[in-house]
């Protein structure tokens, strides 16, 4: 179990290779270009290929082609590049193809900035392009978790034939932490009898397609896909609870922000404030039931959502708890990370509210 120091951008690349991914298509964009650079070095050594596409759009469509051909394949980009991929993502979802898409988010809108952000939450979770479609969305909060979730992501994608997004941010992409890669072992993609690999005269032809010109047929396809989504919601939600046992204040945060929230929770606990953290690991499916249960179990009185955006996850939290509790929000944008101190300030304010109520 030798650990190595690795950047998030490199760790996901190496993890993907360990998962049997032998094709990477991408286009440079800060703060995730190291993924392509790492792949460019490593892939030829494992008999794989890293191809720099002419654009994000070309890259996602190369992914579509490779996925149709049955390969484990990934691409990565950052916010504006992900927006460009959205038509392609919708096609991949509509063609029932699995693949891994990494978004190392930066500040927006527009060209925005290049520092860490979480302002593509809605883009990832609510609308994977046009039409009724979803990606499974993972939000790791450490380099080790990036590695571990990469394996999960490929497996879940293949199992349900859906695109999967790893939603990271500039900090996770750029930072190094000790990471254990060996635990992944060597993984193999499953058989994909539906893939367009050439029928070889051995089977009927396969078609990968998202066009259904008859409304009834398209509706049936969509409904069948949503049944799969329901299975995913049932079985694949992931989350972490931290010091929630007796918490009156429940922080909800994911990714890099969740780490800072943990520090803030520690600080609050040291001050005698009963704070805890609920960290959704899958953002879609959202661990709604689990959040609700955790809050009920602990008797939470206030919820505090923290994100690197203007509050995109707040609605999901309110819905999860059925609007039962007041939900406060603390967000920073543009690449600014909140300090644990400022979060502690928010926690203290909520604590005072609770105390007042008790009086």
């Amino acid at each position: 179990m030798a650990k190595v120091l690795m950047k998030g951008n490199e760790a996901i690349a190496e993890a993907a290779i360990a998962c049997g991914c032998r094709l990477y298509f991408g286009y440079p964009i800060t703060p995730q270009t190291e993924v392509a650079e790492y792949m460019a070095k490593r892939m030829p050594k494992v008999g794989g290929l890293c191809l720099q596409a002419e654009s994000e759009i070309a890259a996602i469509n190369m992914v579509l082609g490779a996925a149709a051909a049955g390969a484990r394949v990934m691409t990565s980009s950052s916010s504006p590049g992900i927006a460009l991929k959205s038509e392609g993502i919708s096609y991949i979802a509509g063609s029932d193809l699995p693949c891994l898409i990494l978004n190392v988010q930066r500040g927006g809108p527009g060209l925005g900035g290049i520092q860490p952000a979480q302002s593509d939450y809605n883009l990832a979770v609510k609308s994977a392009g046009h039409g009724d479609a979803h990606m499974v969305v993972y939000a790791p909060s450490s380099i080790q978790e990036i590695v571990d979730l990469t394996a999960v992501a490929f497996d879940v994608g293949d199992k349900y034939r859906v695109p999967v997004m790893m939603l990271a941010d500039g900090a996770l992409g750029q930072m190094m932490e000790p990471v254990d890669l060996e635990s992944l072992g060597e993984r193999k993609p499953p058989e994909k009898p539906w893939a367009t690999t050439g029928h070889g005269g051995l089977r009927k032809k396969n078609i990968i397609n998202s066009l259904y010109i008859e409304p009834e047929e398209l509706e049936e396809k969509v409904r069948a896909r949503f049944e799969r989504y329901a299975q995913i919601a049932e079985h694949e939600a992931r989350w972490e609870e931290y010091k929630l046992g007796d918490a009156e204040i429940c922080l909800v945060a994911y990714g890099i922000t969740a780490r800072i929230c943990k520090t803030a929770v520690e600080m609050a606990r040291r001050r005698g404030i009963k704070a805890g953290l609920f960290r959704p690991i899958t953002l879609w499916p959202y661990p709604s039931r689990q959040l609700d249960e955790a809050c009920r179990r602990a008797g939470v009185k206030r919820v505090l959502v923290a994100e690197l955006n203007m509050g995109q996850m707040v609605d999901d939290v309110r819905l999860a708890i059925n609007c039962r509790l007041p939900v406060a929000f603390h967000g920073r944008t543009g690449g600014v990370l909140p300090s644990p101190e400022e979060l502690l300030g928010e926690i203290a304010r909520l604590d005072a509210e609770i105390k007042e109520e008790k009086d």
């Binding site: 002419e54 490779a66 149709a68 050439g198 070889g200 078609i207």
Partner: protein
């Protein structure tokens, strides 16, 4: 004793093509199927259907098929070919698909010398969506989005795709053909066959541009439409081989 002089190629599916009466998309489909048959590659071929009138091409060829987003067929083909380098991969694309929205994907597949075969249907119009101006519509041509005739000063000049791609080193073979008469159809057949052979021999990107008719959106009878290919299109789009870096042995 009767000998079959002309029959249906096996790689062409036994369904009615969705094209309008007299649309030469159908001829090109048959030629592609014949080439696949003659090379015996149906089982190792993967075709990419575009968005355009030929969007349903996935129903018309007996090989494995993928339907690509509008304009992105060359990128999709790249993904397939890089995953399965020993398979034969072709795209079948219209002029809107290949030369408008898909310009970047076309140029870069060509620049990469992507080892695929592109069948490019130049009918100087957007057939599928009802007759809008294509990047290949001729100066003066009336379309629904150039109702007063395409004015090069405002709407620009048609793109000559073979000529443009000929400037790129990755292109192994580029020929412009037409399907306006039996002689040219037979030439087109030869070109398509060669384009597949070029790929099989690993020479790089091969593209066959086919001047094709759209009687419906041109507002002409099928026969008049063939005449228009000859009289209006060919002067602007001369037939011929624009690139041949195959060294002849792919002939």
């Amino acid at each position: 004793m009767a000998e079959l002089v002309f029959g249906r190629p096996k790689s062409l599916s036994d369904v009615t093509l969705s094209y309008c009466p007299g649309c030469t998309h159908g001829i090109v489909h048959r030629l592609v199927a014949e080439a696949i048959d003659e090379l015996g590659i149906e089982g190792k071929t993967i075709g990419i259907a575009p968005v355009g009138c030929s969007v349903f091409a996935y129903n018309f060829f007996e090989c494995d098929m993928i339907q690509a987003p509008h304009g992105r067929a060359p990128a999709v083909a790249t993904g397939v070919k890089r995953a399965l380098p020993d398979r034969v991969v072709f795209t079948y694309q219209g002029d809107g698909d290949l030369a408008a929205i898909g310009t970047a994907e076309t140029v870069h597949a060509a620049a990469r010398g992507e080892n695929i075969t592109i069948i490019f249907i130049n009918n100087a119009i957007y057939g599928m969506t009802g007759g809008q101006m294509a990047p290949t519509s001729l100066p003066g041509q009336v379309t629904t989005t150039s109702p007063y005739g395409r004015n090069p000063k405002i709407q620009g000049n048609p793109i000559r795709v073979c000529e443009m791609l000929a400037t790129l080193d990755g292109v192994a073979y580029a020929e412009r053909v037409a399907v306006d008469c039996p002689k040219n159809v037979l030439r087109a057949k030869k070109a398509i066959l060669k384009a597949f052979k070029t790929q099989i021999e690993g020479k790089g990107l091969a593209i066959v541009e086919v001047l094709s008719s759209c009687p419906t959106q041109w507002g002409k009878s099928p026969a008049e439409a063939l005449e228009w290919i000859r009289t209006a299109m060919m002067p602007y789009y001369p037939l011929g081989v624009y690139v041949d870096r195959t060294g002849g042995d792919a002939e």
